[in-house]
Amino acid sequence: MARRIVVTGIGVVSSIGIGKENFWNSLINGKSGISDVSLIDVANFKQKRGGEIKDFNPVLYMKENEAKKYGRASQFGIAAARLAINDSKVMLSQLDSDRLAIIMGTTMANIRELELIDEIWTRKGEDFLKSDPIPKYPSHSLAFSIAQELKINPFCMVIPTACSAGNYSIGYGYDLIKSNQAEYVICGGADPFSRITFTGFGSLFAMASEKCQPFDKNRKGMMVGEGAGVLILEELTQAVRRKAYIYAEILGYGLSCDASHMTLPSIEGIVKVLRRALISSGIKNSDVDYISAHGTGTKANDVAESKAINVVFDGRKNLPVSSIKSMLGHTMGAASAMEAIACVLAIKHSIIPPTINFETSDEECEIDCVPNRARQKKIQIALNNSFAFGGNNACTVFSKYLS
């Protein structure tokens, strides 16, 4: 009897709300999390805005002396993990650590520690470098710090596959439960606001100044954001036995590799990942009710994604495809985890979050992007797209749970 994997808890730290209620309310009301950047000095930058989280207080989720041990990404991850675990109503101490895993995705992980080191190194000299920030930085710390804070000994892993990392982590969590290697997986992604990311996308002329406008004809690019999304995955019979609330089921996922360009998307690679996701889930393209787009708002991504969707879904007109990056900006490694949470809540509430800031349609992006207003729709099956630098594509498939 094949094992089934369900979502029993969610936790999210975002620029439009911390916690699932605040996050969801903001999503369906089309609230933007874009504001003037304060976490880095933008005096020399052309762009000044991004999706920063202004009201994150780490001591709400961990003791103050503990919070000091962790970088911002880890603090986000710990907060989102705690929210998700509490939401799942599981006592971690009652779980067998041999059957427990923490899989987190990221782009830069605790990069702010390295950025601080770089500032001191360039402005003062290496003699002023302290050792404190050093162990906080390496990327594995994102998952390991969650285990350290929760005082548990699960299987831990960080998958730093950039913009698709959240989906990779959710997918691997799914694989571990499916193959009977785990019962309970804490998975998702986190990334802090990063000067390197802000500089890098600016240097590619791929960043908008004012707002993020996925699929809009006049879109100027992506915007940098930050945050964390964590989902609790469990094996179904265990979840049912303990009377857990089941948000949705994960039917499967697909991975693909463009093997063409480090920063430009490939229609062929996107088509492949969508098809693999459908095959892995045992569903037909006509079964899909909603797609949470990668939808970064760049010229290149949005047209490639639209074209690929139309290839795979035969140009279906009644397939809504919205991008919550219009509200959050691109939260990097957290993005596809936060988008997974949006899918799960969309299924629960039968409401599709909108693509905001949509003003003019682009004939190259022939999709229904659910412009500006959330839409009521019963969703049986939702797809969650993510395409990363280097051509790492991942697509996860969520469905309403039917007992």
Partner: protein, 421 residues
Amino acid sequence: MAHQKIQHKDVRNNRIVITGIGVVSSIGIGKEDFWQALKQGKSGIKPVTLFDTSSMQSKLAGEIADFKAEEILGEKGLRNLDRATKLALCASELALHDSELKITEQNTDHIGVVLGSTMGSVRSISEFDKEGIMNGPRSVNPALFSNTVINSPASQISIRLQIKGLSATISSGFSSALDAVKYAIDCINSNKSSAVLVGGAEELCEQTFKGFYKLKLLSASRKNDKEMICPFDVRRNGMILGEGAAFFLIEKLSSAINRKAPIYAEIIGYGTGFDYKSVNRYRFDSCGPDKSIKSAITSAKINFSDVSFVASSANSDVKGDAMEANAVKKFFGVKKIAVPAIKSMIGETFSASGAMQLAAAVLMMKNQFLAPTINYDYADEQCPIDCVPNEGRPLKINYSLVNAFGLTGQHSSLVLSGGRI
């Protein structure tokens, strides 16, 4: 509409074998040179030339002297690639060539690449950042931005070799490379891939060296100790860093047999043990190594007494080596099993270390010969093990255990079978 029934997914375990090896190391480029050097106990440790060490007491590393990636990769397309990426590209190219597998339009969708790497190229990340800080954000080279993502080396491999199945990077500190192998095996068992190029890569750079130095992990970083790498020796006073990359082609046994591939060894077990109390420090009695060894042997379905040697991750750290010796002693007894530590020759290659040890273990099994732990002159009663001191020796080997323990918190192990497959 009615929800479709989930198709039964066939996730039975496949037998997984290693059919290609590629190594780039400070003691040899390519598996043959690497093996000859290991066998002879050759040291790759030398004064660092890649950056200035004058402000530090530690000055040695297992640097790959005169590394010329173009000799393996050709001249074109390397201009903007960093050292970590070039190491990974070279090792993966060598491994693929060694496996005799040709990547084609027909099979590429079933081939994957997985890299164990925690730092990516921290040098690329830091230098990009520093350029922007010093000269303003418009002065950065946009072509170098993609080098700042940790999955860049793996992606570059997929572009160069035209691998379209999947590409992933795994970060778990010292155990990254072995955990990458685990992830790759799971890709095969979940039918995402039929073959995966998997390995680890780590470049030597100022950022990593100074980081380890500031944390007082390097030999001679604490006081005026003699700078040396001597695993298990009582004089040890810290690790010496190294660099390198090792890649493997792993695939289902059935597919290897079908294409008449050379089979080096079978991966018959994997184990792991996380210890939250050992995050950022070595603990002598950490539960992590114990759990890693025990779960690896259990999953391999063999007895502890079947294991011929343990490819140890001992790196000359005072506590770290004792921690591993203690764990080995618990399961294998005192001096009952050979425990060679190749980091004595190549240094601590961090995320790549598990892959370097895996390569060494496979070559030891193939040649039925143990490589030594060099620089071993004075026994330590805290490490009562047979580390194959200074000179290699022949041994009949059926099964081996490869450990990747460290001070990042997660400890992992693989079990290999080299017998009749």
